[in-house]
């Protein structure tokens, strides 16, 4: 299943998704594309901790916007912006309440499919140079 030769091979992608079953599916799909999945984590607190891990550079992130209990992923997005890490939003919400800088981001409409997820993550990473291992 692993695609060691694909464009995502070896890339470190953070996955933030509060729903276990969806997180699990996304993890599985990304691993299948050769991605080194960071997470998945269900909330802001865990995500910020992973972003802040010293010496571990992220290549990108897939963020669920609505993290439940009133929590949103914008704080994570801001931190990623600071670090120059590209990210995309995966959201089931119709209305975009994002701030302008978030609105320009690539997004994924839920429910996700494997193809959509992989394609959008590839596009996300195509816009930024991959780090060298």
């Amino acid at each position: 299943m692993s695609n060691a030769a694909g464009p995502l091979a070896g890339r470190r992608i953070l996955v933030v998704e509060d729903e276990y079953f969806i997180a699990e599916a996304m993890e599985e799909w990304l691993i299948g594309a050769g991605v080194e999945v960071v997470g998945p984590v269900p909330g802001v607190e865990q995500a910020l901790r992973l972003i802040g891990e010293p010496g571990k550079v992220l290549d990108g992130a897939v963020l669920d916007v609505n993290l439940g209990r009133g929590e949103t992923a914008y704080a994570i997005a801001d931190r990623l912006n600071e670090r120059g890490v590209p990210y995309l939003f995966a959201t089931g919400d119709v209305r975009i309440t994002d701030a302008p800088e978030h609105r320009r981001r690539l997004r994924l409409e839920k429910p996700l499919t494997r193809q959509q997820l992989i394609r959008q993550v590839e596009r996300l990473l195509a816009g930024s140079p991959g780090h060298s291992d």
Binding site: E19, I22, E24, A25, G68, R69, G92, R95, E109, P111
Partner: protein, 624 residues
């Protein structure tokens, strides 16, 4: 002519004149006759009467004998200072000129010289009180003397003429006054005027009465005045009350419905007045009234229309207001103001300026709300919504206004008016609805993601289709419970029983379920119910619910974790199960769900233990 004869003749003239003056009221005829008698008596054949026209400063030849008809009644001459006439009036007694050719006291008017007058006598006529009426002038074409007896005769004659003229002038003035009065009364057709005798029988019925009531004077003469009253007023004695009151008080108001000849009704506003002669004897009654039926009908219609508007606007829960477009002052404010704006209506009406209202509007919306009002004054219809800060409780409320101009008959904006309603609740529920729709979108999209994920993991396994179907049903039950509770929460007991009842009969001692009422949120319910489902299907396939032997106890309580977070602790305990270790120990997808999904999404702690006679599972779930 002997003196005696002359004396007798002159007495005769005076007597004849006196007689005529007594029986005639025709001033011109009397004056003409006076001239004729004087001309005869003095044998000149010529005499005339000059009337002073004080206003014009002229003398008019009012009557005359022996003079040309072109002169009598027509000729006027200025009252000059040096004329014989002015001289005579000033002298106050007859002035004689034997020969005007030799006269050096005054001038004689040219027309008299032209007519050949040589001698003349001017006798002034004074009215009682001393005012000069004019002159009696006797002329002769021959120079002649006027004897003392003749002068005395003329003086007497002039003294008789004065009072006679005065009486006739007075009579003429009286007559014209009376005539004027009669004309006035008869032309007052808007007023019913009639007179009745002391027994209240109609004696005089003026044209106005006929116009208002329809009867002619002939028809009502002698009839009781009460025929103009309605039967009900007659029955209750109102007609007698009115005449009695007039008799006692002098006058009684007559303001009531009356009846016409044709039976229709007419509303009269007027009075009944008692007429008394100078010694106080009752002569009758004067009734004067105006037909105000049309005005009254109009007033009645207006009153009804106002009443209708009042009922409508006072019953309305929407606020109705009207402002004068000129002063912009409030003219009307319906009672709903007090509920919507929460202030006293009277206080706002009293100083009903726009500014006063604007003060109630939220500062951020004030300018816009004011500009709307002025757009309406310019003739536009507007709908707008703004916030107010309700003075009674300081709450911010949303008001929706529909404002419109009211035009006068020339098309100018005369008033502006509007309907206002408090739409705070409607706005809030619409906002809530919006949130719900968004939440529903979010949830249903997530749910599909969950189902997809579960499907991909389940369908590959042995018996996968049935398991998948069962899991879908579990999800569906959980969703059903959420919508059933209405509050977007579900109760733990209901979730547990719902899941168990889908597979078995929930009845002790086989299955015991107990715990307090605990509500879980929507996001908790989905994973929690799936976990319950996995526990249940596991029990049905391998554990306590597989056969008669096993027992299941599900109990829960609310307690606090070490961080002081409120949590649910649920114990799932199976007993009396003949364990088949080879099957139950494998770590299937179901167990993964129980252990991982709850921990991941709900930060729950789960312990899943295979005891000696069955599964023991403890789920500790932080409550939100």
């Amino acid at each position: 002519m002997p003196d005696l004869d002359r004396m007798v003749k002159r007495q005769q003239v005076l007597a004849d004149f006196g007689e005529l003056a007594l029986c005639s009221l025709d001033l011109d005829r009397i004056l003409a006759e006076a001239c004729r008698l004087v001309g005869d008596a003095l044998g000149t054949g010529r005499a005339k009467l000059l009337e002073i026209l004080h206003a014009e400063g002229q003398l008019l030849v009012r009557a005359g004998v022996g003079w040309d008809p072109g002169i009598v009644g027509r000729l006027r001459m200025p009252m000059e200072e040096h004329s014989s006439e002015t001289f005579a009036i000033a002298a106050g007694e007859p002035v004689i000129s034997r020969d005007i050719g030799k006269e050096d006291r005054f001038d004689v008017p040219p027309f008299m010289r032209e007519a050949g007058v040589v001698a003349l006598v001017n006798v002034p006529i004074f009215l009682p009180g001393g005012r000069a009426f004019g002159l009696l002038q006797v002329d002769d074409t021959r120079p002649r003397d006027f004897g003392e007896d003749e002068i005395q005769f003329l003086r007497t004659y002039a003294n008789i003429l004065g009072p006679v003229i005065d009486r006739l002038l007075l009579a003429r003035t009286l007559q014209s006054t009376e005539e004027r009065f009669r004309l006035m009364v008869e032309s007052a057709l808007d007023y019913a005027i009639f007179l009745a005798d002391p027994q209240d029988r109609i004696t005089d019925w003026l044209p106005g009465a006929q116009a208002v009531f329809g009867w002619t004077a002939e028809e009502v003469g002698g009839q009781p005045a009460a025929i103009t009253f309605t039967p009900e007023d007659r029955a209750s004695g109102q007609d007698r009350w009115e005449t009695e009151t007039a008799r006692k008080e002098g006058v009684a108001p007559n303001i009531r419905w009356h009846i016409r000849k044709d039976g229709s009704r007419v509303f009269i506003e007027g009075s009944t007045r008692a007429l008394r002669d100078p010694d106080g004897t009752l002569m009758g009654f004067l009734k004067i009234g105006q037909d105000v039926t049309a005005r009254r009908d109009g007033e009645e219609r207006l009153r009804e229309s106002e009443e209708r508007f009042r009922q409508f606007s006072e019953a309305s829960s929407d606020l109705i207001w009207v402002r004068n477009a000129g002063s912009m002052e409030l003219e009307y404010l319906s009672p709903a103001f007090e509920t919507i704006y929460g202030g006293s209506r009277e206080a706002v009406l009293k100083g009903g300026t726009v500014q006063r209202w604007a003060e109630l509007v939220h500062p951020e919306d004030r300018e816009r709300a004011l500009s709307m009002i002025y757009r309406v004054r310019a003739g536009e219809r507007v709908m707008n919504a703004f916030r107010i800060i309700r003075p009674s409780d300081g709450e911010t409320r949303w008001i929706e206004n529909t404002d419109f101009p009211l035009f006068d008959n020339k098309g100018r904006v005369q008033r502006i008016a509007g309907l206002a309603k408090d739409v705070t609740e409607a706005r809030m529920s619409s906002a809530r609805l919006q949130v719900l729709v968004e939440e529903l979108q979010h949830r249903s999209r997530n749910l599909i993601g969950v189902i997809t994920s579960v499907a991909s993991r389940t369908l590959g396994e042995e018996g996968g289709a049935a398991d998948f179907q069962a899991r879908l049903q579990a999800l569906s039950r959980a969703q059903g419970l959420l919508s059933q509770f209405g509050s977007d929460t579900a109760e733990v007991g209901a979730l547990v029983r719902g899941e168990l009842e889908a597979h078995t009969e929930v009845r002790p001692p086989k299955v015991a379920v107990s715990g307090p009422r605990v509500l879980l949120t929507a996001r908790q319910v989905q994973n929690f119910s799936l976990a319950l489902h996995e526990l249940t299907t596991n029990a049905v396939k391998y554990g306590a619910l597989r056969d008669e032997a096993g027992q299941l106890s599900v109990t829960w309580a609310v307690d606090w974790d070490e961080k002081g977070q409120r949590r649910l602790t649920l114990d799932w305990i199976e007993s009396g199960v003949d364990l088949q270790p080879d099957r139950i120990t494998r770590r299937g997808y179901g167990r993964q769900l129980i252990e991982k999904a709850l921990a991941y999404a709900l930060r729950a702690r789960t312990e899943f233990v295979l005891g000696e006679d069955g599964v023991r599972c403890r789920i500790q779930l932080p409550l939100e």
